[in-house]
């Protein structure tokens, strides 16, 4: 039931040019961001990779990597997916072409500016909130542009009912705005240097309230929205349980916000806040798995197709990693587990399970489905997409397993005591032993990046075989009732 249906058409067309723009930049920044990550990983194995250049030390490259994959790769992917699906779900063209253009190009400007600043040493020094004062203001501005364009489109909608994907988009737009504003509240010294108004422990709590919910509302809720729109499309099945989607939506957004302090267990943060964070993190398992099960069970009856369709393969593995990360997260939030895992590479492995597995694979699934439709053609090579799937999966497994081993090794060596009551290992001994695992991790990352490059080639060839179109908006509802009512 896509736009080629011979339904009567209204006077306007969908704006898919904006979607194609965001798709292009997702792929471009994805390659840049993952290359930066791979390079940073190699720097930990071979210090010579720092090249004795102030611009490429691990301390500057790692923020570039995280900013690029979170805000540039994931950000653009979210915008592409939202602009495409919201128009269809609301059966209307995006409200303002001007705002769409400002959003598309403004966001790319922010990314370029941020990258230059980070490599030059201009940073706010807070994880995932490194962009400096002027970039923070631009982010606020463009986010408002996005929000206005989005809600204006909702206001113009021809479908009364808001589909579940849209609920998740609403939560994303509102919550990210709140988090960004509060965590970056600062007084500027210059446009590129400012001091945050919060200090010490308060700053730490606000930072991790932000940091954890950047994961929750930039890397989870929009992707659940994408899952709810694109997975039923790709599987040609209705969402498994409507009731479950209601329950897990409201409980997820309510509980997520509380979990931030699990990043600060056993620190100087007051105990009551730590305990709250730990309890809510444990509770978070339920709504997270609600979403995962709703996704996986949507494939009920389509399991046969998972064997042949790379899009469904990507979705299945993405949801599986979502389930695994949202199990591992609550476990790591238990004080005694955090005592071992905190400060080690276990955490790095954990976040990459979610990032590479859930976020990355969801983007891949959505784009393999979306790009042929944006160009009115078929995917250039299903075989290459399948190879991408296996290359990426093996890459993630190598990454995660090596980081588990690294993390547990570090954690245990740091706390080891000899019989005479002295520490068994000096710190440097616990560093040197990690070399082989760091190599395996870099290999895993390289495979994942190789997979992405295969995808870029595949999608470029797909686009070249078709023609960019902006299909007309159907005049009557073409929404299959099965998507809504189960």
């Amino acid at each position: 039931m896509n736009y080629t249906d011979p339904a009567p058409v209204s006077a306007e067309n969908y704006d898919d040019d904006t979607v194609r723009g965001f798709v292009f930049f997702t792929m471009f920044w994805g390659a840049v961001g993952m290359l930066a990550g791979l390079w940073a990983a190699l720097e930990l194995a071979f210090w010579q990779c720092n090249l004795e250049s102030p611009y490429l030390t691990f301390g500057r490259l790692r923020p570039l990597h995280t900013n690029a994959v979170i805000f540039a790769f994931s950000g653009n992917a979210i915008f592409a997916s939202v602009y495409y699906s919201v128009q269809r779900l609301c059966r209307t063209r995006t409200a303002s072409d001007l705002l769409s253009k400002v959003h598309l190009w403004g966001w790319q400007l922010i990314i370029v500016l941020d990258a230059v600043c980070l490599l030059s040493g201009f940073t706010d020094g807070k994880e995932y909130a490194e962009p400096v004062f002027i970039v923070d203001q631009l982010i606020t501005l463009i986010w408002v542009v996005f929000g206005v364009n989005f809600f204006w489109t909702l206001a113009r909608r021809r479908e009364k009912h808001l589909y579940v994907a849209i609920w998740f988009y609403i939560a994303t737009i509102i919550t990210i705005a709140v988090l960004h504003l509060v965590n970056n509240l600062s007084i500027p010294v210059t446009l590129f240097k400012s001091y945050i108004v919060w200090s010490g422990v308060q700053d730490a709590l606000i930072q991790w309230w932000y940091g954890h919910n950047a994961v929750g509302f930039l890397l989870t809720t929009p992707f659940l929205g994408m899952m709810y729109y694109y997975l039923p499309k790709a599987a040609e099945k209705p969402v498994y349980s409507y009731r479950l989607s209601i329950i897990h939506f409201w409980s997820l957004i309510f509980i997520y916000i509380w979990a931030g302090p699990h990043h600060l267990l056993y620190t100087a943060l007051p105990d009551w806040a730590q305990t709250l964070g730990m309890c809510f993190s444990l509770m978070l398992l339920a709504p997270s798995w609600g979403g995962m099960l709703n996704g996986l069970l949507t494939l009920k009856g389509a399991y046969e197709r998972v064997r042949t369709d790379p899009i469904l393969k990507f979705f299945v593995v993405a949801l599986t990693f979502y389930g695994m990360s949202t199990f591992e997260g609550p476990m790591l939030s238990i004080r005694s587990v955090s005592a071992l895992g905190h400060y080690t590479d276990w955490i790095v492995g954990h976040v990459h399970g979610g990032a590479l597995g859930w976020v990355g694979f969801t983007v891949f699934a959505v784009f393999y489905w979306l790009v042929p439709r944006l160009y009115g053609t078929r995917l250039y090579s299903t075989k290459l997409a399948t190879i991408h799937f296996w290359t990426g999966t093996i890459g993630i497994v190598l990454y995660m397993v090596s980081m588990w081993v690294t993390g547990v090794t570090q954690g245990l060596m740091w706390r080891a005591f000899s019989q005479d009551g002295s520490l068994t290992y000096s710190f440097i001994e616990t560093t040197k032993i990690l070399f082989p695992y760091y190599l395996v991790r870099a290999l895993g990352g390289a495979l994942y990046l190789a997979g992405l490059l295969m995808m870029v080639y595949n999608l470029v060839q797909t686009a070249r075989s078709g023609r960019a179109t902006n299909p007309p908006v159907p005049a009557e509802s073409v929404r299959p009732s099965r998507l809504e009512q189960v």
Partner: protein, 227 residues
Amino acid sequence: MKKDHRWLESQGVLMSVLVTVLVLVGGLVEIVPLYYVRSSVPPIEGVKPYTPLELEGRDIYVREGCYNCHSQMVRPFRDETERYGPYSKAGEFVYDHPFQFGSKRTGPDLHRVGAKYPDSWHYYHMLDPRQIVPGSVMPKYSWLHQNKLDTSLTKKKMQVLRKLGVPYTPEEIEGAQAAMQAQAGGIYDRLREQKVENVQSDREIIALIAYLQRLGGDIHWREAQQP
């Protein structure tokens, strides 16, 4: 429930308001008490704002992204207090804008590194970490020894921090340049005493050493441990 929710799903505005309220609850409950419950951050006597030179050194620490590999938060475990020193207390960080607890230890924790090594240790270590710690994966930071410390913004930085509640007096802000020169001169003299060649007192490395040597020392624990 299903029917009521069905109605709600057509009410975009109401839905957005509900979402906003729900996501605000958790943050407010956790964050607001930290500002009003005095016992949350017990004040510690002796904790003082950074000197102008230490402040510049701290900004270099932030600039180079040291927090990506080093934490500044010793947890209350025997192995950590044995390795680093007394565990970190909330009251020690009240002048830290931004906080630099860190989340990863590729290198060791630095909260109690102040006065652990002589100034020359840091000087050489930043020049070539492997000269001091064979097997280290830390990058060389040789540009810190070449770059002149930019002090053109120091006063303005202190004024901004004063607005945020850091108790710099107007006299301290006015005398920032002189205070920096005096402290840098002291570090220069110590480095010369420790036989370091080609030192210049106006380089970035001097400010960074000032900051690192200050870390975690406000509670005077090293003095207390001396017999």
